[in-house]
C-alpha cells in the first residue's frame, strides 16, 4: 500500500541528485512494504538503516540498486524473521553491484538466506543467518549465497542450520571468506566452480563437512581453482548428513574436515583440523559420470601444507571402516586421497603429513576396486598466492 505522502518521494527518486541519504526503517506493522519500498527507492550511496527489533516478513525482499548499504543495529539486535514467509526463493535477493550488507540477521528463510547474483563488489559483514530449529532437511539450502559475481568479501558472518551450505560461493571470482562461523550446516563453507578464493580464519564446527572446494560439470562457469584454505579452525564436524538426497552435498560423509574435489590449484595450510571422524582432509576426483566435455574431474595441483591434525579419522563413514581402522592402528591418517591424478598435477603434501590413498586409477571408479595404501606423494613446490582473494578496496567498507 502506498501512502499519500509517499508520492513526492516516488516522483523524486528516479532522477534525484546523487547525495547520499539514509532511509531509516523500523520494525513493526507494515515492515514488509516499508522495508521493500526503502530498498527500491535507495539510490547509489544511500544507506537503508534497519532499526533494532524483529521484522516480521511474509515475502522475499530484493535490492537491485547499485552502491547501497543495508545496515542493521547488530546481528543479534536486528532480525529479519522469515518464519512466516509465503513466497520467493530466498529471504533477500541482491542484484545490484557495490552493495554492503552488515549488522543484521535473517531467521528461518524458507529457501536461501541472502542470495546475491551477478552482484559484483559485494561485502557481507557481520550478517547472521539462522534456522532456529537446528539441522533439519526442511531448512533452506544456503545461508549466504553469492553467485556469478566478481569481488566478494564475507567477514564476521555466522550461519547455522543450512540444509546445503552455510556460506556458498558459486561461479564467482576474487573471493574472501574470513572470520566467519559456520555450524550445524551440511557443508560449512563451499567454494564451487569459482576462482581466486581465500578462505581464512573461519570456524567450521558441527557441520557434516567443514570446508568444501569443488567443481561441478554442466554449469555456465567452470574451471574452478586457485583457492587457499588457511588458518581455519575445522573441528568436530560430526553432524549426520541431513541434506535431501539428489544434491551433491548429500554425498558428503559425516565428519569431513576439508574436501577438495575436481579443482585446480588448492592450498590447505595452517589450519587446525581436529575431531573430524571420517577425514581431516579429503582430496578426490568427481566421483560421478558426466557428459560435459569441458569438465575436468580431477583434483589438480592440490597442496596440503602444515596443519594441526588431531583425532581425525576415528569413525570413518567409509565402507570397510572396521578393517581400515584396524589396518591403520585405530584411526585413519588425516589426509585421504582417492589416488586419481592427471599428469604431473597430483596431490602433494608437506613433509611429515600422514595420509592414505584409496588407490583408484580413474574418476568414477567403483569404490569396491579401491586398494588402500599409505600415502606416497611428493612434497610441495611453492604455491603462487598472487591475485587470490577479494580486492583490498572492499575492506574500506567495514
Amino acid at each position: 500500500m502506498i501512502r499519500h505522502a509517499f508520492v513526492a518521494t516516488l516522483l523524486l527518486s528516479a532522477a534525484a541528485p546523487a547525495i547520499a541519504a539514509t532511509h531509516q526503517v523500523a520494525a513493526g506493522e507494515g515492515a514488509q512494504e516499508r522495508l521493500q519500498e526503502a530498498l527500491i527507492l535507495a539510490q547509489p550511496g544511500d544507506t537503508v538503516e534497519l532499526g533494532a527489533g524483529r521484522f516480521v516478513l511474509t515475502d522475499g525482499l530484493s535490492l537491485d540498486a547499485n552502491g547501497v548499504t543495508v545496515k542493521g543495529a547488530g546481528m543479534d539486535k536486528t532480525v529479519l524473521d522469515f518464519t512466516g514467509q509465503k513466497g520467493a526463493g530466498e529471504g533477500l535477493l541482491v542484484t545490484g553491484d557495490r552493495v554492503t550488507l552488515r549488522d543484521f540477521a535473517l531467521e528461518n528463510p524458507k529457501g536461501d538466506g541472502v542470495k546475491s547474483k551477478g552482484a559484483d563488489d559485494i561485502v557481507y559483514y557481520r550478517v547472521r543467518v539462522t534456522w532456529t530449529g537446528g539441522p533439519k532437511a526442511t531448512n533452506g539450502a544456503y545461508g549466504l549465497y553469492p553467485v556469478e559475481s566478481t569481488n566478494v568479501l564475507i567477514d564476521g558472518c555466522l550461519v547455522s542450520g543450512a540444509s546445503d551450505a552455510g556460506i556458498y560461493v558459486g561461479q564467482s571470482r576474487k573471493i574472501t571468506v574470513r572470520n566467519s562461523t559456520v555450524s550445524e550446516n551440511v557443508a560449512g563453507i563451499e567454494i564451487e566452480n569459482s576462482r581466486d578464493a581465500l578462505v581464512e580464519g573461519n570456524v567450521a564446527t558441527r557441520n557434516t563437512g567443514g570446508i568444501l572446494v569443488f567443481d561441478l560439470p554442466a554449469l555456465p562457469v567452470m574451471n574452478g581453482g586457485n583457492v587457499i584454505v588457511r588458518g581455519n579452525q575445522v573441528f568436530d564436524n560430526t553432524t549426520a548428513n541431513f541434506a535431501p538426497p539428489g544434491n551433491i552435498v548429500a554425498s558428503v560423509r559425516r565428519g569431513t574436515g576439508v574436501l577438495v574435489m575436481a579443482n585446480d590449484g588448492v592450498l590447505v595450510e595452517g589450519n587446525s583440523i581436529r575431531g573430524n571422524p571420517t577425514s581431516g582432509v579429503m582430496v578426490i576426483a568427481y566421483p560421478l559420470a558426466f557428459t560435459d566435455t569441458r569438465y575436468n574431474p580431477h583434483a589438480r595441483n592440490v597442496t596440503v601444507g602444515e596443519n594441526v591434525f588431531e583425532n581425525n579419522g576415528t569413525d570413518p563413514q567409509i565402507d570397510g571402516a572396521p578393517m581400515l581402522l584396524q589396518a591403520f592402528g585405530g584411526a585413519l591418517p588425516p589426509v585421504l586421497w582417492d589416488g586419481n591424478f592427471e599428469g604431473q598435477t597430483g596431490l602433494r603434501v608437506a613433509k611429515g603429513v600422514a595420509g592414505w590413498s584409496l588407490g583408484l586409477t580413474r574418476p568414477a571408479q567403483p569404490l569396491e576396486e579401491s586398494r588402500p595404501a599409505p600415502l606416497a606423494v611428493g612434497t610441495p613446490a611453492a604455491f603462487d598466492a598472487a591475485g587470490i582473494g577479494a580486492p583490498a578496496e572492499l575492506d574500506k567498507r567495514i
Binding site: 502506498i2 527500491i40 530484493s62 509465503k86 556469478e148 539428489g246 544434491n247 560435459d292
Partner: protein, 342 residues
Amino acid sequence: MRGPIAIMAAALLAFAGALAVRAAAPVAGVADAAILADVMPPKLSDFGFFADAPAQVPRDGVVPYRLNTALWSDGADKLRFVYVPAGARARARDAGDDGGLLDLPVGSALIKTFAFTEDGRRRLIETRLLLHRAQGWVALPYLWNAEQTEARLALAGARLPIATPQGPTISYRVPNKNQCKECHGVDGAVVPIGTKARNLAHGWLAAMVSAGRLDRMPQGADAVPLWEAREAASAVAAARGYLDVNCAHCHRPGASASNSGLDLRWEQADRAALGVMKRPVAAGRGAGAMLFDVVPGKPDESILTHRMASTEPGVAMPELGKDSVDAEGLAVVRRWIEEGAK
C-alpha cells in the same frame, strides 16, 4: 540529506511534463510523457491507456493481443495490450532471432491486467506495465482498489486473498517492482518476454502490419501451440511451449536462474541443457529425494515436475507469481516426460 523542500522542488522541476499531463484531466489520449519521463506516476489513469479502465476498454492505439501459450499465474485472467506511439512502428524480428521478440520503439508500452472472476463478476487485481523509455524498459506494478475505480502504484507489491477458479482461496502475491525484473531481466536489463513472433497469431501480426504498427510479417510466427488446442499438438510442442513461456525467462543464459545451467527455451535443442539426466546444482531441498531434473519416462522421479507440483517456498517453481499448482501445465509436462522428454 534530502529535505522535503528540495524534494518538492526537484520533483516540480524534473517532472513538470508529467505533472502537466496529470493536471489536464481528463486525459484526452495516451499520455506519452508519462511513458517516456523518468518518473513513477502514482496512478494507472495517469497514462491514459484506457477509454474505460474499469471495463478495460482501451484507447485508440492501445491494441489488445493474446499469446498462444501464456504464463500461468494462479489461474488469473490476463488482459494484454500493446501501445506503439503515433507515427512509430514496431520492427518485426524472425523467430530465429530471440523467438522473434517484437522490437518495440521507445515510447511503447505493454500493459497486462490480472483479473479473477468472483461471484460471476470480474475483479481486477493488478495491472503491470512495461514502459520503453530512452534508457531502457521500466517495469511498474499497479494495484486496483476495492472499488475497482483506479489502480495505484504498488512498488512494494502486496498480498491479498483470492478465490481461484481452480478452487482454493490463496494468498495472491502482487510482485514488487524489483521482482518484475527477476523475470524480465536478461543481462541486467529489463526486457519484454511474451511478445515473440513464435507465440503470436499470424492474424494478429497481419492486422498490426495493415494498421501500420508493424513493419512486416516475421518469419516463424505462430509456432507455439495454441494452449486450448494443445491436445491437437504433439506432447513435445505443447510441453516445450509451456516450459518456454513459464520457465525460460529465468532458466536461460543471462537471466535469474542462469547459474542453474538449465535452459528451457523453445529453441534449446541440447537435451542435457533441458534437464534430461541433469543433476541439480543449487536446488537445495527443492530437489526432494530426486537425482535428476528430468528422467525420461519417469515424471515421478523428475525434479522439474516435483517443483512444479509444490506450493512451498524454497521448493515451488516458479518462485514468483505462484501460490497454487497449475494442474493443466503440470499434466502437459508430465506427458512430455512420460513420452521420453524428446
